[in-house]
Amino acid sequence: MTPCEIKNTLVSILSIPTHGVTMADIRSLQDAVADLVHDGDTVAMEGFTHLIPYAAAHEVIRQGITDLTLVRMTPDVIYDQLIGAGLVRKLVFSWGGNPGVGSLHRFRDAIENGWPRPLELDEHSHAGMANRYVAGASKLPFAVLRGYRGSDIPTRTDTVSTVVCPFTGEELAAVAALNPDVTVIHAQQADRAGNVQMWGLTGVQKEAALAADRVLVTVEEIVEELMPRPGGIVLPTWVIDAVSVVPGGAHPSYATGYSTRDNDFYQAWDPIARDREAFARWIDAYVRDSEGALTR
């Protein structure tokens, strides 16, 4: 019996079934979105102002994946676009504005006028949303915080409740865990094995990724080796399903070390989004029929 045969025999005797852990595939954004994001999914595209995965959202628009429940602390222009495109059934969020500019007009139009379709809301505070992701990543059904006190928010959601501390008797807020079907994030770098590193403001991306069933990461570039960075967060390949290389994939948001926030875009978005037709023209010109759409 050769060592190899011995090994195989022993494997059959002693081995245990794997837990379903696999490496991330590096693949085109088009294929990755088609495989991982389905009609009716609950999808979190996170990134707190920084590293917002716009390119992936645009691919969702191009593929017309619809009836989505979108989750994000700050819907931002990325969800304004998806909502305006008519793909969103429900929004789970905590602050829906265009940061430093004003309203998200597509978001408002959907809520106030049901255009292009009614938008159901599950609305929280930032602290509540952050803790909902923490519970999700921890595979706990809920998280505890000292929050929502005196607020009307709990009257409009069924995902805030209370628990009593068994030691002190204090009543605290409980928020239900968030476990998206898919989380999509943008990061600076991946290596060839599909390990990912992001740095700068890292928001709730780690929690959102670890809370999800499936994870898609777009990256600025593939590097030979991930060099540890100050403030860097590494997600190992075996918690990620697919990595797609999309340089500039966070624009008009930004990727520290690669680009700066395009504040002008955020300001220019306001008049575009105010007008249904201007919005439709923009989506057609810059998302549906863009050159990028053809090459991805």
């Binding site: 005196g150 403001l201 955020y266």
Partner: protein, 273 residues
């Protein structure tokens, strides 16, 4: 925004509001900064009355020292100049809920006489759908957990209302003791700074009382801009006009806030990737 002459300098009522808001941070040590007016005030405080003020933004930055006004709470410079950058859940759990932050600085869409805040929805009448506002963001827990809360917003009957359409964030509830009853650790709102003057809660009733007006602003004008029957302090002070230094610092911050964007697209919609 009407320009008001004051000695050698001209300044707007907005500028006076911003300068007063910055002055209110003179003794603060750490400030949880909302975007917009609060961020202007906090950055101006660092440039004038309180260079050591520790700015904390909900995007996760502790000790940011921006050289220009950030447009969003996640602008790159906030992280690059910070003493520490932490994940967002840590920010809310260890730092804010952990009672580490001295002053919370908030804006508001609607405020009532007890400094309760609405940033969620407004009632636009029986035949119209609710008007949508951005929502809570960090405010409910900022107002609950910071040592004190300062508010800054423009004064009008649209903003200063008899009754909120929705309570997003509790200020003083329905009167003194309500915060304690709800187990809120911080003292709650201590001042509401507007473009007309300053309101503070009466310790006995927790109701906002007009304590200072800006130069050339009459008490009557403030009453007219307030949606409830405004109580006025026995002696109403007049706030000091901005010093030339304050005004210069404020204008420099704002001018620096509009830098040429590297890689700025020719068309607004054009994506650069």
């Amino acid at each position: 925004m009407t320009a008001t002459p004051a000695g050698t300098a001209d300044f707007t009522s907005d500028e006076l509001m911003e300068v007063n808001a910055a002055r209110a941070l003179a003794d603060a040590t750490t400030c949880f900064v909302g975007i917009g007016l609060p961020s202007t005030a906090a950055n101006l405080a660092r440039a004038t009355v309180n260079p050591g003020l520790v700015l904390i933004y909900e995007s996760g930055t502790i000790g940011s020292k921006p050289t220009r006004l950030p447009l969003s709470i996640g602008d790159g410079e906030l992280a690059e100049t910070a003493d520490a950058v932490v994940p967002v859940p840590e920010m809310f759990n260890y730092w804010l809920q952990g009672g580490r932050i001295d002053v919370g600085f908030l804006g508001a869409a609607q405020v009532d006489r007890y400094a309760n805040i609405n940033t969620t929805v407004v009632d636009r009448g029986p035949d119209k759908p609710e008007g949508r506002l951005p929502g809570a963001g960090g405010a409910p827990e900022i107002a609950s957990n910071c040592g004190k809360v300062l508010m800054v917003l423009r004064h009008s009957t649209r903003n200063f209302v008899e009754r909120l359409d929705f309570v997003t964030t509790l200020g003083h509830g329905g009167g003194p003791g309500d915060r304690k009853k709800l187990g809120m650790p911080g003292a709650g709102p201590t001042a509401v700074i507007t473009d007309l003057g300053v309101l503070r809660p009466d310790p006995a009733t927790a109701e906002l009382v007009l304590t200072e007006v800006h130069p050339d602003v009459t008490v009557e004008r403030v009453r007219a801009a307030t949606g409830w029957e405004l109580t006025v302090a026995g002696t109403v002070g007049t706030t000091e006009p901005p010093t030339p230094q304050e005004l210069a610092a404020l204008r420099a911050l704002k001018a620096a806030g509009k830098p040429e964007q590297p890689g700025k697209p020719e068309q607004p919609g054009k994506e650069t990737r």
